[in-house]
């Protein structure tokens, strides 16, 4: 795609490119040098501050892995609970009955308009006030509750967009052979929509993993992020090192999930067996804010593949 914007380069353009490359490299090097200088000055690059991650297993077994485990547990629980809930809400939003469609629409739009952190703060206070869940488990419950409320409504939109992206002929054919509405949904539309939605669902998992960190920062949930905090106070102010290691772990997890989602998306667009409807990774970015403009799905089945 990028080659569309400029011609094959002649000698002058090539020379200019080299100039830009050099200039940019200088700027980049200057910034990196400044960062390096600063880190060095504050002693953050000393081997003392980094060695626990490379020699010995204590830092990993005591801090990072338990934190990672909690992050994964919270994310997995949230996904497992939110997915069926989202499917129900998504289908309910497509109902023919206004008394089902209306309230569900309000609920879905409401929970998408509110920050997850607000939901989590509410949930933790709610649990401490009205339930006897012990205070060690409360953060996990609150994090999962917040994530479920938000992500169920986003997944509801993904399910709805997935169903709407199917060609109309599918519903018509199902009706023509005399299937009921429920049968049309469960044996014709939903199976195809689920395949179309898989990449979007995987990318939603990235959003969930990232949001679990909120619990670590604000609700004292012992997740991967809070393990960075604990480490930097235990090992003596190696904040930069701890945060770098934790950030790299987040990047590895989420990058693998994103790559997996794009791979799924490409594979599905290629396959001839489906109806051609695929909800891509970029759809998820749109759905995670709030509905803008006209309904989804109109363009979702279109052929524009995202290049990556």
């Amino acid at each position: 795609m990028s080659s569309v914007l400029y011609d094959a380069q002649g000698p002058r353009a090539k020379r200019r490119n080299v100039l830009f490359t050099v200039l940019f490299a200088i700027v980049l090097a200057a910034v990196l040098w400044w960062v390096y200088q600063n880190l060095d000055e504050k002693g953050q690059l000393a081997w003392d501050k980094w060695k626990m991650f490379f020699t010995g297993t204590e830092a990993w077994t005591t801090y990072i892995l338990p934190g990672l485990k909690n992050t994964v547990i919270a994310a997995a629980l949230a996904m497992v609970i939110a997915l069926p809930l989202g499917a129900v809400l998504g289908i309910a939003r497509l109902s023919d009955h206004a008394w089902v469609r209306g309230p569900v629409t309000v609920v879905v739009e409401f929970f998408r308009a509110i920050p997850v952190l607000i939901l989590m703060i509410f949930a933790v206070a709610l649990y401490s006030k009205y339930t006897d869940i012990n205070s060690d488990d409360r953060p996990l419950y609150a994090v999962v509750t917040g994530l479920v409320l938000y992500n169920a409504s986003v997944l509801a939109e993904i399910v709805r967009a997935g169903i709407l992206s199917l060609p109309k002929g599918q519903t018509e054919a199902a009706q023509a052979i005399g299937l009921r509405k429920t049968q049309t949904m469960t044996s014709v539309l939903l199976p195809q929509a689920v395949t179309a939605m898989l990449p979007a669902i995987v990318s939603q998992l990235v959003v969930i993993v990232k949001d679990t960190a909120l619990g670590g920062a604000v609700l004292t949930f012992p997740d991967l992020l809070s393990s960075a905090n604990t480490m930097s106070s235990y090992y003596g102010a190696n904040t930069i090192a701890s945060f770098t290691v934790v950030a790299v772990i987040y990047i590895v997890i989420n990058f693998s999930l994103t790559s997996f989602a794009s791979w799924l998306e490409r594979r599905m667009r290629r396959s001839k067996r489906s109806t051609g409807a695929v909800l891509g990774v970029d759809k998820v970015a749109d759905l995670n804010a709030a509905e803008v403009g006209d309904s989804f799905g109109a363009e979702a089945g279109g052929g524009r593949t995202s290049d990556s």
């Binding site: 795609m1 990028s2 569309v4 914007l5 400029y6 011609d7 490119n17 830009f20 490359t21 940019f24 490299a25 980049l28 600063n38 880190l39 504050k42 953050q44 409401f110 308009a113 509110i114 920050p115 997850v116 952190l117 607000i118 703060i121 509410f122 206070a125 709610l126 990235v206 993993v209 990232k210 679990t212 960190a213 909120l214 920062a217 604000v218 992020l225 960075a228 930097s232 904040t239 930069i240 945060f243 934790v246 950030a247 987040y250 990047i251 997890i253 989420n254 990058f255 994103t258 970029d282 970015a285 749109d286 995670n288 804010a289 709030a290 509905e291 803008v292 403009g293 006209d294 524009r304």
Partner: protein, 222 residues
């Protein structure tokens, strides 16, 4: 019924949220556009930088970025962003910085997908009349791209509004911080939560509606 609100600066807290949103929005729009230009440009090093930046930043939780800005940049490296000794000012600026770093990756992707919607023929025609890369981008492609990305950018703005609550993690006195404080001190849990939820609905809903209308209005008809 609402007397529990007394003694709390509810509007002030939401005003901080709005300020965080607006400043970060302007910053990330500029930086995101620059990143997008790098990603579609002819210089391989810039392309590589843009791609790496977006892939790294998009996959880190915003919470990690903002906490790092406070604990790493400020407390370890003594970066104050010109805030002097005033921790409120410093934390506010660090939060804006973190939000810009994070949001610009999404702005970049939105604009790049907008550039993808401009038909190949437009860029080809522009090149055929002898415009160079910057002219093609500035005069032909970006004006059309921006019109088609108002919808996606509105989504980014709404997500940004909600993301400002993460600044609570470093103690910026915005809505989520106040909500936490009020819940600790007052008894009306449900009412307080409802007030804050309502506040965010009021902030995000009109943005969505207005920009949704604008994006339809200015969309390039093809």
């Amino acid at each position: 019924m609402f007397d529990f609100l007394e003694g709390y600066d509810l509007l002030g807290a939401f005003w901080v949220t709005v300020k965080l949103t607006l400043l970060s929005a302007v910053g990330s729009l500029i930086w995101g556009t620059v990143l997008a230009a790098m990603r579609v440009g002819p210089v391989p090093l810039m392309r590589g930088f843009g791609t790496a930046y977006v892939n790294i930043v998009r996959n880190i939780p915003l919470t990690v970025i903002i906490l790092f800005a406070s604990l790493g940049l400020n407390q370890t490296l003594n970066v104050t962003l010109g805030g002097g000794d005033d921790f409120d000012v410093i934390n506010f600026r660090l939060a804006v910085l973190g939000l810009i770093v994070y949001t610009s990756a999404f702005v970049c992707e939105a604009i790049r997908s907008g550039i993808n919607t401009v038909p190949v023929g437009q860029a080809e025609a522009a090149r055929a009349i002898g415009l160079n890369f910057f002219q093609v981008l500035r005069l032909v492609v970006l004006p059309q791209a921006f019109r088609s990305v108002i919808g996606p950018l509105a989504n980014v703005l709404i997500a940004l509004t909600k993301n400002t609550t993460v600044a609570a993690a470093i103690g910026v006195a915005e809505a989520a911080t106040l909500m936490k404080e009020m819940i600790e001190n007052e008894a009306q849990l449900i009412l307080i939560s409802a007030v804050f939820a309502f506040g965010f609905v009021v902030l995000t809903l009109p943005v969505g509606l207005v920009l949704g209308w604008v994006s339809k209005k200015v969309a390039v008809k093809r």
